[in-house]
């Protein structure tokens, strides 16, 4: 029977410059479907959780999913996983664009990069053939030039490339992997690639992706397209404004973070940064493979010092280079976004780290001696922009900031850690958790750190009543909500895969059934809805086991003190905070829903139910289970 799985895992060893192709196991497919399911399971099975993430023992696992490369819309998504150098936990990012489907067209469901190259290389994968090509001349290039140079070198403009910029080469823990203009942004995966001396992966394929039951697949696809068309948000708003419309949404409910989360509600420049203001900068949209939405907004700085700069800032970049830095200039945000993409830096962590430094400067904890003469106050857009290449290249003060807020606060000392807002080392996303408490619980418990994408509480941020209406200020019931958000999102978006925006805006009430029908009809597997949900739960438990074995404990699930001790002073979420007692109540509620013990260790019975027998053995060996 035909299937949308390609049936192959490509394993490339950079140390001995060898590669092999092995079959994808049916067991892996049935238990984890694809994407992040494959990537995280392989990570736990093949990487010792206590290794140095920048050592040759770490692996980079690229995994597409069964829907990628089919006619399912918005399914060109890929998971990239490794042990994160930023958090020490599972480091996993999703990326879109065209590379995910090219991986399938080349004949692979999974690509595993192992070892370390003595000299800089890039990989050229063309169907069954892999070449190791010298990358000395590419070192130091920005990610956009790098991709063009490789295309020119190989004589094919349709090659898809994933690469790192100077930030990854310099092992910044905020370094990302860029493919086309998409980013596997967070958790420092770019540094893992840089530590392997791997500048880029170029790929081109000629194979077709099969479909097991074309008629059923066509029906399922039509149902999904109808849901997309019927959405009051997806085409009417998302196509027009993209994610930056969340500036309006976050401002509306008083959670748009400002000035390192010290002024949420007090400062929120909707007139300058909101959807209406953004319109005049937009010159077009960009699309992932087989996506009819085109949410990425191409924005142009038309005049001034940075005239001609084109960027595609998403909401999180408006937050990280606008809200928390106190900068209210669209031009500065576009330039910062473009620079981060070129340098290969995560816009979220980079902006958050600069905002942290700004607060220290405002409070006199650091001064111009350390900042090399820069007046690093909130709102100083030029200083913000100037720091980006310094961070990427580890120059001067940039070297202090290059590894994120946790490391920067350790280097600076002087009790600066209270202003370093992170969970497990990953800087906060663009939502003040005091005003969206379930979303905050999601940040606390995401296996990757403060990650909004592992369990987006659209019920609280956008008021969407699926699976039910939620009171964003309440503490009760948030454990069940976060578990639902994590498990459903994991399987429908991260494994199938599917763009997460469809989860929020088009298919939230039918997400599980939609995934079931598309996956079954494309692969020939036979999941029930309950089994689909279990895949998401299984993935979250596997990731938790990795994190426990890597040394993370219950305290790593806590919020930064700012959200516990300080209230939002003004605005629509005025008076809100998450006192310690409430934080622990929500956390214990979540552990109970997950059937984990009071320390967040999965119980044997839950792991047995999920068929995670090897994981039971690992926890037993480490002394966490009897």
């Amino acid at each position: 029977m035909s299937s949308s799985y390609m049936g192959n895992i490509l394993r490339i060893n950079l140390t001995n410059k060898e590669y092999n192709i092995t079959p994808l196991s049916e067991e892996l497919a049935k238990n984890f479907i694809g994407g992040t399911g494959f990537a995280v399971k392989i990570l736990l099975d093949e990487v010792n959780p206590v290794i140095d993430p920048l050592s040759a023992e770490n692996k980079l696992i690229f995994s597409s999913g069964p829907l990628s490369g089919t006619a399912a819309p918005c399914a060109s998504r890929m998971s990239i996983a490794a042990k994160s150098p930023l958090t020490g936990a599972v480091g996993m990012c999703m990326t879109g664009g065209y590379f995910p489907v090219e991986l399938k067209f080349a004949g692979y469901d999974v690509l595993i990069i192992e070892g370390h190259s003595e000299e800089p290389v890039y990989l050229w994968i063309k169907d069954d053939k892999v070449s190791f090509r010298k990358a000395n001349k590419l070192m130091g290039t920005n990610t956009l030039d790098c991709q063009q140079l490789i295309k020119d070198d190989l004589g094919d403009q349709n090659i898809r490339i994933a690469c790192i910029g100077p930030a990854g080469e310099n092992l910044s823990k905020m370094a990302c992997i860029i493919n086309e203009r998409r980013a596997a942004g967070r958790k420092g995966l770019g540094a893992v690639m840089g530590a392997k001396n791997l500048k880029a992966i170029a790929i081109r394929g000629s194979k077709k992706v099969g479909i097991a039951n074309p008629e059923e697949f066509s029906l399922a696809r039509k149902r999904m397209l109808k849901a997309m068309k019927d959405s009051p948000v997806l085409y009417p708003e998302m196509s027009q404004h993209g994610t930056p419309m969340t500036v309006d949404a976050a401002w509306g409910i008083g959670i748009f973070p400002a000035k390192n989360f010290s002024a949420t509600g007090e400062w929120g420049p909707i007139e300058k940064l909101g959807a209406q203001a953004s319109k005049k900068y937009k010159i077009g949209s960009s699309y992932c493979y087989n996506c009819p939405v085109g949410c990425s907004q191409l924005k142009l700085v038309r005049q001034g010092k940075y005239g001609g700069v084109l960027g595609e800032p998403e909401y999180e970049t408006y937050y990280s280079f606008g809200g928390i830095t106190g900068v209210d200039s669209q031009e500065a945000i576009i330039v910062a976004d473009r620079l981060c993409d070129e340098m290969g830096l995560d816009t979220m962590s980079t902006g958050a780290t600069i905002a942290f430094a700004m607060e220290l400067f405002e409070k006199g904890i650091i001064n111009k001696d350390l900042t090399e003469g820069i007046e690093l106050k909130f709102g100083n857009a030029q200083a913000m922009i100037d720091l980006i290449p310094k961070i990427a290249c580890r120059e001067g003060f940039g070297d202090i900031l290059a590894d994120g807020v946790r490391v920067a606060s350790q280097k600076i000392g002087k009790s600066s850690e209270k202003y370093a807002l992170h969970i497990k080392g990953l800087e906060m996303p663009g939502y003040d958790p005091r005003g969206v408490k379930g979303h905050g619980l999601g940040f606390m418990t995401a296996y990757t750190g403060a990650d909004h994408n592992r369990s987006y509480a659209f019920q609280e941020v956008f008021g969407i009543p699926v699976p039910y209406t939620v009171d964003r200020f309440a503490i009760e019931g948030k454990g069940a909500l976060v578990k639902w958000n994590q498990d459903v999102r994991s399987v429908t978006c991260d494994c199938a895969p599917m763009c997460a925006f469809l989860m929020d805006m088009a298919v939230p009430s039918i997400a599980v059934e939609n995934t079931r029908d598309l996956v079954n009809s494309s692969t020939g597997l036979n999941f029930t809805s309950q089994e689909i949900k279990l895949v998401g739960e299984r993935l979250n438990n596997v990731a938790k086991v990795f994190n426990i074995l890597s040394g993370l404990r219950k305290e790593d699930d806590y919020l930064p003190r700012r959200f516990i001790d300080e209230k939002i002073k003004v605005g629509t979420s005025k008076g809100q905070s998450i006192p310690e007692e409430d934080m622990l109540t929500m956390l214990h509620d979540y552990y109970q829903e997950r059937e984990w013990d009071e320390n967040g260790i999965p119980k044997r019975s839950k792991l047995e139910e999920l068929g995670l027998i090897r994981e039971i053995g690992l926890l037993k060996e480490a002394g966490f289970l009897q």
Binding site: T243, A249, G252, G430, Y456, G463, V466, R472, A474
Partner: protein, 96 residues
């Protein structure tokens, strides 16, 4: 008389003329009464934005919030407004 801040986004803000504005209402008015007054003042465009499609439960409608809280968790449209309150039209959006 009491003064209430009317807050809105996107198409609502276009119809109402701004993201935020202070308006006066009779003391003791309810949320429902405020909405009726706004409908009369801003006409059919606002009425259409507030219409609910009762037949399709898959999708969401504009939510009314008082002081940041969905009125479903208060007394619904019978919730009494006080001087200095903020009424927010929480328009369907997504992203992030």
């Amino acid at each position: 008389m009491i003064s209430i801040k009317i807050k809105s986004l996107m198409k609502f803000a276009e119809v109402l003329g701004s993201h935020e504005q202070q308006m006066n209402f009779a003391s003791g008015c309810t949320v429902g009464e405020v909405i009726q007054i706004l409908k009369k003042k801003f006409g059919t465009q606002l009425v259409q934005l507030l219409e609910v499609d009762d037949q399709d439960t898959n999708y969401w409608r504009t939510i009314i919030c008082l002081n940041g809280r969905n009125i479903e968790f208060l007394d619904g449209t019978d919730t009494i407004c006080l001087d200095g309150d903020e009424l927010f039209f929480w328009t369907p959006l997504g992203g992030g």
